[in-house]
């Protein structure tokens, strides 16, 4: 299974290493650096590399490479999934998963890694369990610890480890029992030049924050569960109940977690909330081009569109952009040739517009096609798929 783990930052420095079996020299990473050089873009580094004696499996998260070394056959997804879990855990503990944060908490991270894997096989990956064994740092606790010499390592076995519900710890108590559910839906759509939808799908996530005492057993039902095309659940959800009754029945973990992911592929129902009028043209004569983009609302169902952002990957020949937005501001990154226009809230009365000229590299041939536009936006309080809002949440029993 997983032999060693190296954390590597964007510039190629190894700043943490952990070995679960015998020590493997850092030099194995050279193969990775080689591949990284070749790939140019960090995203293009192949996740699985073969070296003479080892296999390297890498993930790229938050500008960090998590590189694991393995020696024998193991399902690659197993390792990839685990590495992501490590990154998630670090993020969960320290609120961020960056080089500086890890360096500041290097001992805690090291202890975490020690707990998560035993001899390369995952031991405890549930954050609830880990948090009982190694308490996440808080300002208060660090003050107390320095004063009393106390530790942030638990001395009893987390009860979750022993039960069939490893995700929940025992003895949770709250004065205010509360549970929040966020439904986040994303539309993923590809439109062609004329604005017709080539492909659209809706992906939803239900994020939950449950603060209930004891061992609550919850059920959650949906208005129209038939809309769900495909779902995946947190392990706490009982599969059988869902299959037979389309009801989510679960004992939730304590705190924040992702309850389920779902997918709605009803292409015809997907209403794209905005429209874009764009014209990007390059002149044959002279090294310049014109750009004119207007965005307007369309089927927003009375809600406001927020955090609107347009990203354009420009052709290589574009040297600089001289544009004027009527709303928001824009940046043009010369190195990556990405134009980002951050609009913010969409005002239906005064449509945002970005226009101006682009200057091209002298002598370069005119780019033959128009770049594609990526538009990100957010609408609060609206489930685009329409119906899959839950209606009933019943707490069946709480026993503590």
């Amino acid at each position: 299974m997983i032999h060693s783990l190296f954390l590597i930052n964007h510039s190629g420095d190894i700043f943490l290493e952990k070995h679960w079996k015998s020590v493997i020299s850092r030099s194995v990473c050279d193969y990775f650096f080689e591949a990284k050089e070749k790939a140019v873009d960090p995203e293009n580094v192949p996740p699985v590399l073969q070296t003479p004696h080892h296999y390297l499996i890498t993930i790229y998260r938050d500008k960090l490479f998590f590189l694991s070394v393995i020696q024998t056959e193991v399902p690659p997804l197993f390792v990839i999934e685990f590495l992501h879990r490590v990154a998630d855990t670090i993020q969960d503990y320290f609120g961020d998963c960056s080089e500086s944060v890890i360096k500041d908490n290097v001992v805690t991270v090291y202890e975490l890694l020690e707990e998560m894997l035993d001899n390369g096989f995952p031991l405890a990956t549930e954050s609830n369990v880990l948090k009982e064994m190694i308490r996440p740092p808080t300002i208060l606790r660090s003050v107390v610890n320095t004063l009393t010499g106390g530790s942030n390592v638990g001395d009893t076995l987390p009860t979750g480890q022993l039960s069939n519900i490893p995700w929940r710890r025992a003895g949770v108590k709250y004065t205010n029992n509360e549970a929040y559910f966020d439904v986040i839906e994303e539309i993923d759509a590809i439109l062609d030049k004329s604005g017709t939808t080539v492909f659209a799908e809706i992906q939803g996530v239900i994020e939950a924050c449950v603060r209930l005492s004891g061992m609550p057993d919850l059920t959650l039902s949906f208005m129209n569960p038939r809309l769900f095309d495909d779902v995946s659940f947190h392990p706490c959800v009982r599969f059988k109940r869902w299959e037979s009754e389309r009801i989510l029945s679960f004992i939730p973990p304590d705190g924040n977690f992702t309850l389920m992911n779902y997918h709605v592929s009803s292409q015809n129902l997907v209403a794209i909330p905005v429209y874009v009028k764009q014209s990007i043209s390059f002149f044959e004569m002279g090294p310049c081009g014109r750009l004119d983009i207007t965005i307007g609302p369309k089927q927003t169902m009375g809600k406001t569109v927020e955090a609107l952002m347009v990203t354009i990957h420009m052709p290589k020949a574009v040297l600089s952009a001289n544009l004027t937005p009527t709303q928001g501001n824009y940046t043009y990154d010369l190195a990556t040739k990405v134009l980002v226009w951050d609009i913010g809230k969409l005002n239906p009365q005064k449509l945002p517009n970005l226009r101006g000229s682009l200057s091209l590299q002298a002598g370069a041939p005119k780019p033959e096609d128009n770049p594609s536009l990526n538009i990100d936006l957010k609408i609060q309080q609206l489930a685009i798929s329409g119906t899959p809002c839950m209606v009933a949440l019943t707490v069946e029993r709480i026993f503590s």
């Binding site: 299974m1 190894i14 700043f15 290493e17 015998s22 020590v23 850092r26 873009d41 192949p46 996740p47 699985v48 073969q50 296999y55 790229y60 998260r61 393995i70 024998t72 056959e73 399902p75 690659p76 997804l77 197993f78 990839i80 999934e81 685990f82 992501h84 001992v107 991270v109 090291y110 202890e111 035993d118 001899n119 990956t125 010499g149 390592v153 076995l157 480890q161 022993l162 039960s163 069939n164 490893p166 993923d188 062609d192 492909f199 799908e201 061992m215 495909d230 995946s232 392990p235 009982r238 599969f239 059988k240 109940r241 869902w242 992911n261 997918h263 990957h313 033959e368 096609d369 990526n374």
Partner: protein, 1099 residues
């Protein structure tokens, strides 16, 4: 700071040290100072010290030993967390000296109360194994023990240990298979992945291919479904199907495949896991379905896999690779999700390329237009690698789908005017390949391409154009020489690959059009002659010799034209994922398309056995059968359990033969089997409290399952029964005659011997008789008993009865296979012997069914045909005296060669015995032709113990470890005693040195169907090789005539080796109550015999 008294200082110091370790700095010089703190009370300091120890113990072994006592203390701690962590650290410090200590600790922890500690023990197993592989055998024992553990916590870890230590010992799984299936959903995610992967492999060895028959049925529909695909792969598949058809015409008649219920169980229990959040679990289930499920059901995984495409890019990368492989084999599966594979501009290049691959695989007549439109957009992308891949994809679509070939070609030709050179170059290469398929039509394209030589600089493309022109120079006779002229001019500046093609072009032109090009060619060849690259020089020399006619030009030059302008087969553009499916999907090896270290091959499905019905049963009973086989070393421990299992297989057969009582019987066995295999998990689940509903569901479904199975069993049974009975009756007439002769002969031969023997025979034949017969017999007996109420000499009485019996039995004498193989009865023709054996022993499962009423010869499996690579061996205790040595038990072995090749030189080697035991080997079998079977007899002196005799069975190629384990009942031979003698002996035994120690009494309730005399006698004689003491004499010793429905049955025998008496008494009372008494000097044998007979009578 480490020497400080304050914990906080120590902690601070340790933290710094660990931080240094994490950064990869060497802190080994601090080792002594750190080790001192291993006994520190502060738990955080302790933990950090552990971390340090694990990292450096390997380098400083001597010092590390100082810390071991602390861990040993920790192993005894009442806190399970401390026990576990002590074991964890102890097993993690890689110091060879402590291997025995680790072994001990693991063994102890494996039977710890806390499942968490047991889990840690499971984790420790592979660590110890990697440290010292010689401990393997002991570790396997621990694994076996832990595999039987019923907690979800342990299951994942122990399977992982299993996979690392002994993945080949698949037999360990049999007993735990159902449990693992049922627990699977509650195991933690990582464990699920490992278990599913292991079960995939397991199922491949134990179940039949569910698609085996479908391929025949589907052939017709396949064609319509895929249309007139020209896909190579499809054709192959069809060919395969045809092959199958040709090879087995009988297969068409075969009844539809019935999936093994255990196979179904696995599929059903893994399906919900497709909804797991963990991509690895989803992938594991997907590969399980792909490898194991019937074609119709594989579709369910597509949706889940498509979902994974929205995950992290690394996950996408792996999933797409697997999808690419699957989409080649099962295209229909992903077609509905075609659009999910459309490429997004934000995808990394490697993902784009993989998606293209999938799209290309999915392309067919109906969707090609949409796909091509999509491809057109991709060509405009800014990612040049991706564009190149797209062009290749178009090329592949064009080759695969004939209708669009022209469209594609036109599109590609348009691309030739693209401004990007890379695009053009790539198109040229692809066009070249396409043109090769139908060059005649496209001379104008070739002309167009010839013009391009002026502009294109990419060597590969230039080379391709030159090759094209050379190859089809007859289509473009005017342009070709001109191109050569241009090329000759720039020859020195070209890349090597282009130069080679120039030479080729020159040669071809010289052959077709030597008038115009002779000088040019010579010029080019001269240039090439002095080139720096030796390849080019070689080529030039070679071609010059070949084409330029000289005086001594060899015979080859005549054929130069043929050589150069031979028709070349069009290249096949195929997916790089084509042959990857021989690797288990989702594995690292599959991803790399190379075998990774430790990769376990996915075994092929077991071959189809010649007789389908036999296989069905066999596969079904395999689980139970093999457990008895493989757990032989522990036979003594669990012999009763094994027995029960054996019985379980047998019982339904009894019930069948006894007509009405069938239903209750099967109900019994149903609950039995259900409880034995499933109750554990049921309890486990309900133990968790909150999940009671689930467990209920689970157990319900279990019951259903069992019912299904039961039905299956019955069906099969009936099917089986019929033909066998028929054949029996066919043979019976012949048999009868022979037997008549035989018995007469024997009588005349030796009275004294036959006295004993026939007695036993008549006894057994008594029990043999079928229901109808037995009734008649009972009447007769009663008559006999009634007719001699007076006190006649017992001997006479006996003789008379004996005669009666044997006469009576002649008409229904069963063809007992026992006498034939023994030397005494060698006069029977060999062929008949084999015939008979074939009847009785050809199938382990059949035999109890058909022969059970007879002398109850139970045959045991010594070597299954799968483990034996086609050779299967069964043995039974023939209950005949072994003539070379009277102290030995005769074991009759039957070798069957199921393989396609002959087996030679079958013999025994390397006999391992307990002290005092002896073996008389069977004579070497020179040749066992394919499909034949041979029997042999060997003698074993077990020394009156149930220790197994282990030996190697050798063929000319292989050796198999086998063992023979005698049931206690086979360790004795029957003797004839009258009732008076019996009682005397009994008293003698009782009054012997150890008063009362020689008698064992057990009260029991007889089984419902075992209340008449015959079934009791039959069951006792089945369980042990004893002879019955004639019952007619009951009257004389118990003055008040016992009521006829409460008779006392007595049996007598002597142990084989020490000839000590074994006396068995079964006294029946009201309502099936009975008392079983056994008198024997050998207490061990007595107690074991009690158990066995008890089982035989109560079940």
């Amino acid at each position: 700071m480490l020497d400080s008294n304050k914990d906080s200082l120590k902690l601070e110091a340790m933290k710094r040290i660990v931080a240094m370790i994490a950064r990869g700095k060497n802190t080994s010089d601090l080792f002594p100072a750190v080790v001192k703190n291993v006994a520190c009370k502060n738990i955080e300091v302790k933990k950090l010290v552990y971390v340090y120890l694990v990292r450096y113990a390997e380098e400083q072994q001597d010092l590390a030993l100082l810390s071991i006592s602390t861990f040993q203390r920790g192993l005894k701690d009442p806190n399970q967390l401390i026990r576990a962590s002590a074991l964890r650290v102890l097993s993690s410090i890689r110091v060879t000296i402590i291997v025995p200590i680790m072994m001990l600790a693991i063994k102890e922890a494996a039977s710890d109360m806390s499942p968490y500690v047991r889990k840690t023990a499971a984790h420790a197993i592979p660590k110890l194994y990697s440290l010292d592989p010689e401990q393997k055998d002991q570790l396997i024992e621990v694994i076996e023990k832990l595999l039987a553990d019923k907690t979800t916590l342990v299951a994942g870890s122990v399977v992982m240990a299993f996979e690392e230590v002994c993945p080949e010992r698949i037999d360990l799984i049999h007993k735990n298979y159902r449990k693992l299936c049922n627990l699977l959903i509650d195991v933690e995610e990582w464990g699920q992945v490992v278990i599913i992967n292991m079960l995939t492999r397991y199922a491949r060895t134990q179940f039949l291919n569910p698609n085996m028959n479908e391929s025949l049925l589907e052939e017709g529909s396949d064609k319509t479904f895929y249309g007139s695909d020209e896909d190579e792969e499809e054709e192959e598949e069809e060919e395969e199907e045809k092959d199958k058809k040709a090879e087995a015409p009988a297969m068409a008649k075969r009844k539809p495949y019935v999936m093994d219920p255990d196979h179904r169980l696995l599929l059903r229990n893994t399906k919900p896991l497709l909804q797991s959040r963990n991509a690895a679990v989803v992938m594991a289930v997907a590969q399980l379905y792909f490898h194991l499920a019937p074609k119709a059901e594989v579709g369910v995984i597509a949706k889940a896999l498509v979902r994974l495409l929205r995950s992290h890019s690394e996950v996408q990368y792996v999933v797409l690779q697997n999808v690419a492989t699957m989409s080649i084999k099962r295209r229909g599966m992903f077609e509905p999700y075609l659009k999910s594979f459309y490429i997004r501009s934000t995808d990394p290049t490697q993902i784009k390329v993989l998606k293209l691959e999938v799209l290309t695989n999915l392309a067919n007549e109906t969707n090609i237009s949409t796909i091509l439109r999509e491809f057109q957009t991709y060509i405009k992308s800014m990612d040049k690698d991706f564009v190149a891949a797209t062009i290749q994809a178009i090329g592949r679509c064009a080759t695969n789908i004939g209708e669009v070939r022209d469209t594609c070609l036109n599109g590609l030709v348009q691309l030739l005017s693209n401004r990007d050179e890379l695009v053009v170059a790539e198109s040229v290469v692809v066009i070249k390949k396409l043109l090769q398929m139908q060059p005649e039509k496209h001379s104008d394209i070739i002309k167009h391409m010839a013009k391009l030589t002026d502009n294109i600089q990419v060597p590969m493309a230039r080379a391709s154009i030159l090759w094209l022109i050379g190859e089809y120079c007859e289509h473009v006779p005017k342009i070709a020489p001109d191109v050569l002229r241009k090329m000759a001019k720039s020859f020195t500046n070209e890349e090597d690959i282009v130069k080679l093609q120039i030479i080729n072009l020159a040669a071809k032109l010289y052959l077709t059009n030597s008038k115009q090009t002779k000088l040019l060619t010579q010029y080019v060849l001269n240039l090439a002659k002095y080139d720096q690259n030796y390849d080019i020089r070689d080529r030039a020399r070679f071609i010059r010799q070949l084409i330029v006619p000289t005086e001594k030009s060899g015979a080859l030059s005549k054929y130069a034209k043929k050589l150069f302008l031979a028709l070349k087969p069009a290249p096949v553009l195929e997916s790089p994922f084509k042959d990857r499916d021989h690797f288990q999907l989702g594995s690292l090896s599959h991803l790399l398309n190379a075998k990774a270290g430790g990769y376990q091959e996915l075994p092929d499905w077991p071959e189809a056995a010649p007789d389908p019905s036999v296989r069905n049963v066999e596969v079904f009973t395999l689980l139970e059968r093999v457990t008895t086989l493989t757990s032989v070393p522990e036979w003594t421990k669990c012999s009763s359990r094994e027995k029960r299992k054996e019985k379980k297989v047998e019982k339904p057969f009894y019930s069948d033969s006894e007509g009405e009582s069938g239903p209750t019987e099967s109900a019994d066995s149903e609950s039995d089997s259900a409880s034995s295999s499933e109750s554990g998990s049921g309890i486990e689940e309900s133990g968790s409290g909150s999940e009671s509903e689930e467990s209920e569901e689970g157990s319900e479904s279990e019951e259903e399952e069992e019912e299904e199975k039961e039905k299956d069993k019955k069906k099969k049974k009936k099917e089986l029964k019929k033909p066998v009975q028929e054949s029996e009756s066919e043979q019976s007439s012949e048999e009868e005659r022979k037997h008549e002769r035989k018995s007469k002969q024997r009588k005349s031969e030796s009275e004294s011997e036959s006295d004993e023997e026939e007695e036993s025979e008549s006894e057994s034949s008594q029990s043999e008789s079928e229901d109808s017969e037995s009734e008649a017999e009972v009447k007769k007996k009663k008559k006999a008993a009634e007719s001699k109420p007076s006190s006649k000499p017992v001997k006479k009485d006996n003789k008379k009865e004996k005669k009666e019996m044997s006469l009576l039995d002649l008409d229904d004498f069963e063809p007992a296979p026992s006498p034939q193989a023994t030397p005494v009865n060698a006069f029977l023709s060999n062929s008949l012997a084999t015939d008979l054996e074939g009847l009785s022993l050809s199938d382990a499962v059949l035999s109890p069914a058909t022969i059970s009423p007879s002398s109850a010869l139970k045959s045991y499996e010594m070597l299954h045909r799968i483990t034996g690579e086609g050779l299967s061996v069964e043995y039974c205790f023939s209950r005949q005296p072994f003539s070379p040595d009277a102290n030995m038990v005769a074991v009759q072995m039957q070798f069957t060669n199921n393989a396609t090749s002959d087996t030679k030189n079958l013999h025994m080697e390397d006999v391992k015995l307990q002290s005092g035991m002896r073996v008389k080997e069977f004579p070497e079998i020179e040749l066992l032709p394919a499909g034949e079977m041979v029997t042999a007899v060997m003698g074993i002196d077990f020394c009156d113990s149930t220790q197994a005799a282990n030996f190697q069975l050798c063929t000319h190629t292989r050796k198999f470890f086998v063992s023979i384990q005698p049931p206690v009942g086979e360790l004795m031979r029957p003797i004839f005693l009258t009732e008076n003698e019996f009682k005397k002996e009994q008293e003698k035994l009782l009054l012997g040195q150890l008063m009362g120690m020689n008698e064992i009494t057990e009260k029991l309730t007889l089984d419902v169907k075992c209340r008449n005399e015959h079934s009791i006698v039959q069951r006792v004689t089945t369980a042990a090789n004893l002879s019955r003491v004639p019952c007619g004499s009951d009257k004389e010793c118990s003055p008040p005539v016992p009521p006829p429905d409460h008779p006392v049955h007595r049996f007598a025998g002597r142990t084989v080796t020490s000839s000590s008496l074994v006396l068995v008494t079964v006294a029946t009372k009201e309502e099936g109550a009975a008392k079983l008494t056994i008198n024997c000097e050998k207490m061990v044998i007595g107690t074991m015999l009690v158990k066995d007979i008890l089982l035989a009578l109560t079940q």
